[in-house]
C-alpha cells in the first residue's frame, strides 16, 4: 500500500527529486486515522499530503472519489491542480484531479456530482454546498482520505468550525475515512490536532534554516507616534533596488494606500511597484498578480491579501511595515520570501514608531525562539451549528440523536451539551422564540422520526446563504459618468462622505462626487493631499504573548537602537516602566486638562473597552472625563479632575459592561454576523441591492426588537459570547486583572511622561458624550441645506 507507482518513482528520479524525510513518513503512516503534518513553507508539504493517495490509486485507479483536498483559498486549489498535474502527466498516471469552487461552471459542477474525479480540490464553502444535496452519500460513499491545507488559517475562524462539522458528516458516511491536516505555522500543535480530530498524530518536519530577519536601519529615527512608516521610504526603496522582488506588507489597507502614495512620490527611478489589497477590484488585483508572476514588478505593497496562497514570482525579500502584532502572522509573511526548502527566508521589519521598535524587537526574539502565539480557540460557535443543522435538513432529513452524536465527534464541539444542541435545533425549527408564533409555519418538521424542511423549496435559498464568511457591505468606487471601477469601500465609510471629500484608493487621490445607485462616484484629484484616509481598516490587537514579551523586555538588557533606549531610560527616570505582574497608572496635568494613563498591555480592543468602562466610572465619581484614546498598550483618558486613586473592581467593571454592551454598536455589528450565519436572515445579494430597494431592513431593528421582547433568545446569547471574545475582548481585561491582582501603582506626576507623550498624538480619540453622533448628523444636515441654497 505504501509504495508509489513505479512510473511516478521513475519520473521523480528523472527530475532529480528525492522525497524529504517527512514525505516518506507520510507514506509510511498512510493508514493512520488522523495526522497533522507541520512542515515549513517550501518543504513540499502539500505533495506529502497527496503521496498516500497516489500510492493507493496506483497506475490503474478505480473510478470514484478517493481524496478530498480542502484549502482556504480558491486560488490555491487551482494552483495545486496545476502542480499535481505535472507529475501525474509526467508519469502517465490515469488519476483525475479537478477543482470545484464558486468559480466552477455549472456544467462541470453537475458532471462532478454524477461522475466525481479521483481527487477533488475544493473550499469549505463548496463542500458545504455539496453536502446539502440528497445524492451526497453516493458521491462521497467511497471517500478514503481528506486533506486540509493551511489548517491553522481555517482554525482561526468559523470556517474551521464549519469544516469540522462537515468532516464529521463525511466520517459518518465512511467510518474508515482518514484525515490529514497541513500547516507551516502552528503555535499549539496538540490544540490544532484536537481540532482536527480525537487521536490525531503529530508529525513535525525539520523546520529548515533560521530566517534571516532584522530591523531595517534608517538614517532618520522612527517618529514618536503614528503608523505607516513613511520615514523609512528612502531606505525601503534602496532595499527594493537591491532585491529581485520585494513584498511590502502593511497591517491595514488604509496604511498600505497611504504608504503606496508616498512611495510613488519618492520613486524617482520609476521602479515598477504595484499595490494589492482586498478593497481593489478583482481585475486590478489580477493584473498585479500576473505582472508579479511574469517578473515585471520590483515590489508590491500589500496586506493580508497576500498572506497565504500561491507563489507569484521569485520573491526574495519581505518587508513588514508597522509592528507585526502577532508572531504567527509575521512568520507566515516571512515565509513568502524564498519558497525553497533549506534556503533561509529574508525579511526586514520597519517599526512605525518608537514603541513599535520595542515590539519589533520582541517579535524578532519570538521568531528566533520559534515561539508562536495565538489565542486559544473557544468552543465551537453555536451559530455555525445552527447553519449546519439547517444544511443537514436540506440533504434529506436527520435523526436528532444521530446528528448530536455526529456533532460532538467534531473537535470544536466536543464539549457541546445536549441541551445546547436542542436549543439550536429548536431555533432552526421554530425560531426559538418565547412567543411560539410559528407553530404552523415551522421551518423544520419532524416526519417519521426525521427532521426535514417543511417546505422543500426553501432548500435553494438555504444553499445560497451557506458559509460563515460575512462580507462587509461594500459599495463600488467608480469614476463619475459610468467610468471604470477603482475598487470598493465599506458602506459605512461611504455614508460618512460629503461631496468634496478626497480619499485614497488604488494609490490615487480621488474626490467624492456623490453616491449614485450604490456606487460612490469620484473624480481624480491628483496633487491634493487626501482629507480622509481611513477605510476598511482591519484592526489587529497585539497578541497576549507578544505583549508579555514586551513587558519582560522593559526589565531585561535592552538591545535596542539608542533613540529608543534613551526614551525608555528617560521614562524610568521620571516615572516607572510597566512591569509584567503590576499595573502602572500615571496621572498628570497637561495642556489645561487632567490625564490618566493606564498601561494595561491588553491589546487595542481590550484597552478601548477599558477606556469606556473607566470613563463611565469616572463620570459617576464626578471626575468629568472628556475623552480617551486606546492603543495596544495603554488607554489615555483626559478630563477636568485629577485622579488620585483608582480601584479596578472586577464585579463593577462587569456590571458596567453589561449595561454598556446592550445598546452598543459593537453588539449590533456582531448580531448581524450571527443572524446571517445562523440563518435568521438572508445575505443581501449584490443584484438585489443594485435595484436600490433594500430587500432586507437593518438588522439593528431585529436586535432592538429581540432585546425588548425576548432578551433570553439564543441569538442574543451567541452575540454576547462572540462580542466578549472579539471586539470587546473582555477576556483580556479579566486576564489583566488576574495578572496584576491588587498590585496597582498610581504615580502622580507634574508633567506628561515619555511613555504617555506619544499617546497624545494617537488618532482615534473617542469623545465621551452620548449626543456626539446626533450633533454630527445635525451639523451635516444644516451644511447640506445651506449648500443647496434651501435655507
Amino acid at each position: 500500500m505504501n509504495d508509489l507507482p513505479q512510473a511516478l518513482t521513475d519520473w521523480f528520479r528523472l527530475q532529480g527529486w528525492a522525497l524529504h524525510p517527512h514525505q516518506q513518513a507520510m507514506l509510511a503512516r498512510a493508514g493512520e486515522a488522523s495526522t497533522l503534518l507541520i512542515a515549513p513553507t517550501g518543504g513540499g508539504k502539500t505533495l506529502a499530503g497527496f503521496l498516500p493517495t497516489l500510492a493507493e490509486l496506483g497506475e490503474a485507479p478505480r473510478p470514484g472519489l478517493h481524496t478530498l483536498y480542502i484549502s482556504p483559498l480558491k486560488a490555491l486549489t487551482a494552483d495545486i491542480r496545476r502542480n499535481l498535474r505535472r507529475p501525474l502527466e509526467g508519469a502517465g498516471l490515469a488519476i483525475r484531479v479537478e477543482d470545484r469552487t464558486g468559480d466552477t461552471g455549472y456544467t462541470q459542477r453537475r458532471r462532478q456530482r454524477a461522475d466525481p474525479p479521483h481527487i477533488l480540490l475544493t473550499t469549505p464553502e463548496s463542500l458545504a454546498l455539496l453536502l446539502t444535496y440528497e445524492d451526497a452519500p453516493r458521491m462521497f460513499g467511497g471517500l478514503q482520505r481528506v486533506i486540509v491545507d493551511e489548517i491553522h488559517a481555517l482554525a482561526e475562524s468559523k470556517r474551521g468550525d464549519q469544516l469540522m462539522l462537515q468532516l464529521a458528516r463525511l466520517q459518518a458516511m465512511n467510518p474508515g475515512l482518514r484525515r490529514v491536516g497541513l500547516s507551516a505555522t502552528v503555535e499549539d500543535p496538540p490544540a490544532l490536532a484536537a481540532f482536527l480530530g480525537e487521536g490525531t498524530a503529530i508529525l513535525t518536519a525539520d523546520p529548515g534554516p533560521e530566517p534571516d530577519i532584522a530591523m531595517l536601519e534608517t538614517e532618520a529615527p522612527p517618529p514618536w507616534a503614528g503608523g505607516g512608516g513613511r520615514y523609512a521610504i528612502p531606505a525601503i526603496l534602496e532595499e527594493v533596488r537591491r532585491h529581485r522582488i520585494t513584498l511590502i506588507f502593511h497591517n491595514t489597507r488604509a496604511q498600505a494606500e497611504i504608504f503606496f502614495h508616498h512611495l510613488w512620490l519618492a520613486n524617482e527611478d520609476g521602479l515598477p511597484i504595484g499595490i494589492h489589497h482586498g478593497s481593489l477590484s478583482r481585475e486590478q488585483r489580477e493584473k498585479v498578480e500576473t505582472a508579479m508572476a511574469e517578473g515585471r514588478l520590483k515590489a508590491v505593497v500589500c496586506t493580508g491579501s497576500l498572506d497565504l496562497g500561491i507563489d507569484w514570482g521569485d520573491v526574495d525579500l519581505v518587508i513588514q511595515v508597522g509592528a507585526p502584532k502577532n508572531v504567527k502572522r509575521l512568520v507566515q509573511r516571512i515565509g513568502r520570501a524564498n519558497h525553497r526548502y533549506n534556503a533561509p527566508s529574508k525579511a526586514l521589519l520597519v517599526p512605525a514608531n518608537r514603541m513599535e521598535v520595542v515590539e519589533c524587537k520582541a517579535a524578532l526574539d519570538a521568531v528566533r525562539a520559534r515561539d508562536l502565539d495565538g489565542e486559544p480557540r473557544g468552543p465551537g460557535p453555536r451559530d455555525v451549528l445552527c447553519q449546519h443543522i439547517l444544511a443537514t435538513a436540506c440533504a434529506g432529513g436527520f435523526d436528532a440523536d444521530a446528528l448530536y452524536a455526529e456533532v460532538v465527534s467534531a473537535g470544536p464541539y466536543r464539549g457541546l451539551g445536549r441541551a445546547d444542541f436542542d436549543a439550536c435545533l429548536d431555533f432552526v425549527a421554530t425560531g426559538g422564540y418565547a412567543l411560539r408564533a410559528y407553530d404552523r409555519w415551522q421551518r423544520l418538521m419532524l416526519r417519521g422520526g426525521l427532521w426535514t424542511l417543511r417546505d422543500p423549496r426553501a432548500a435553494a435559498v438555504i444553499r445560497q446563504n451557506l458559509g460563515t464568511i460575512i462580507d462587509i457591505e461594500t459599495v463600488k468606487v467608480a469614476l463619475k459618468g459610468r467610468g471604470p471601477v477603482l475598487g470598493e469601500v465599506e458602506e459605512d465609510f461611504a455614508a460618512t462622505l460629503t461631496p468634496g471629500d478626497s480619499f485614497l484608493i488604488g494609490g490615487e487621490v480621488v474626490r467624492f462626487q456623490g453616491l449614485r445607485e450604490m456606487t460612490v462616484e469620484v473624480s481624480r484629484d491628483p496633487g491634493r493631499p487626501p482629507k480622509v484616509a481611513v477605510f476598511n481598516g482591519t484592526k489587529f490587537s497585539t497578541s497576549t504573548q507578544l505583549s508579555d514579551r514586551i513587558l519582560r523586555m522593559f526589565h531585561g538588557a535592552w538591545d535596542l537602537p539608542h533613540h529608543t533606549a534613551d526614551w525608555l531610560r528617560h521614562q524610568r527616570e521620571v516615572s516607572r516602566l510597566p512591569e509584567p505582574g503590576r499595573l502602572l497608572l500615571e496621572s498628570f496635568p497637561h495642556d489645561g486638562r487632567e490625564h490618566l494613563c493606564v498601561y494595561g498591555f491588553a491589546g487595542r480592543n481590550a484597552q478601548q473597552t477599558l477606556g469606556l468602562l473607566l470613563t463611565k466610572e469616572m463620570e459617576e465619581a464626578g471626575l468629568a472625563p472628556l475623552g480617551f484614546v486606546a492603543t495596544d498598550y495603554a488607554t489615555l483618558i483626559w478630563g477636568l479632575e485629577p485622579v488620585h486613586a483608582l480601584v479596578l473592581d472586577r464585579d463593577r467593571l462587569r456590571a458596567g459592561l453589561e449595561t454598556w454592551l446592550a445598546g452598543n454598536a459593537v453588539m449590533k455589528r456582531t448580531f448581524r454576523n450571527v443572524a446571517i450565519v445562523s440563518g435568521l436572515i438572508e445575505r443581501s445579494h449584490q443584484g438585489r441591492r443594485k435595484s436600490g430597494r433594500q430587500a432586507t431592513f437593518s438588522t439593528d431593528i431585529l436586535y432592538d426588537t429581540l432585546r425588548r421582547h425576548d432578551p433570553g433568545h439564543l441569538l442574543l446569547q451567541i452575540t454576547r459570547e462572540e462580542a466578549l471574545r472579539g471586539l470587546v475582548d473582555f477576556g483580556r481585561i479579566e486576564a489583566l486583572l488576574d495578572r496584576v491582582g491588587d498590585r496597582i501603582d498610581l504615580v502622580r506626576l507634574t508633567h506628561v511622561t515619555p511613555l504617555a507623550a506619544p499617546l497624545m498624538l494617537e488618532p482615534g480619540r473617542i469623545p465621551i458624550h452620548g449626543q456626539g453622533r446626533e450633533r454630527l448628523a445635525e451639523d451635516a444636515a444644516t451644511a447640506m441645506l445651506r449648500a443647496a441654497g434651501l435655507r
Binding site: 410559528y438 436600490g692 429581540l706 441645506l785
Partner: protein, 214 residues
Amino acid sequence: MSYRFTLQGAGLEARPSGALWWPEAGLLVVSDLHFGKSERLARRGGTLLPPYETRETLGRLDADLEATGASHVICLGDSFDDLAAESALDEADRLWLIRLMAGRAWTWVEGNHDPGPLSLAGSHRAEVVAPPLVFRHICSGALGEVSGHYHPKARLPGRSAPCFLIDGERVILPAYGTYTGGLWCDAPALTALMRPDALAVLTGPRCLVRPMRA
C-alpha cells in the same frame, strides 16, 4: 422634535416616529404598517424573524395617539402584509389595535398589499379627499397629495433612516411598520415624483432635515 411645514395651505407636522399630524383636522396619518410581516415570511417558507414587530409598531402608534390626542386616524395602505396576515393577527395584538380604534374615526385606505375589504371595523376607502389635501396609497401626481408605498429612506453621516419626502405640492410618508425595507430617496423612482427642491425629513430620536437630492 417634529418638523412643521405647510402643504397647499394646510399646517402639518412630520413626527419623528414617521407619522404625519394635521392638528387643525385632529388627523393622524400613518402608512405601510405591514402588520404580520414576519408571519407572512414564515408562511412562505422563508426565515423565522422575531415575531414581535406588530406589537412594536402598535406601541409606537399608541404613543403617537397619546401624544397628539388624534380624533381621526388614516392608515394609508399596506396596513397588513397581506389578507392572510390580517386573519393570523395574534389575539393580544388584535385587542390592542381594537382598543386604539375605540372612540376614534378610523380609515383604512387600500394598498397594493391589502387591496380587499378588511374584517376590522373602521371605514375602508380607496382614497380620502379632505381639501386642500388628498390621501391615497400611491402617489398619482395630484396637488396636495399625501401618499406612502415607496418606503423612502435617506442617509446622513452616522445615520440612515426612513424619511418623509416633502415639497410644496406633495408628501410621501415613510413606512411606519417596524420590519420594512426601503428605497433610497435619490432613486429615480422617487426623484421623478418630487420637485428639485424637495426635502428629506429623517425619522429617529428627532427629525433631521436634508435636501432630498444631495
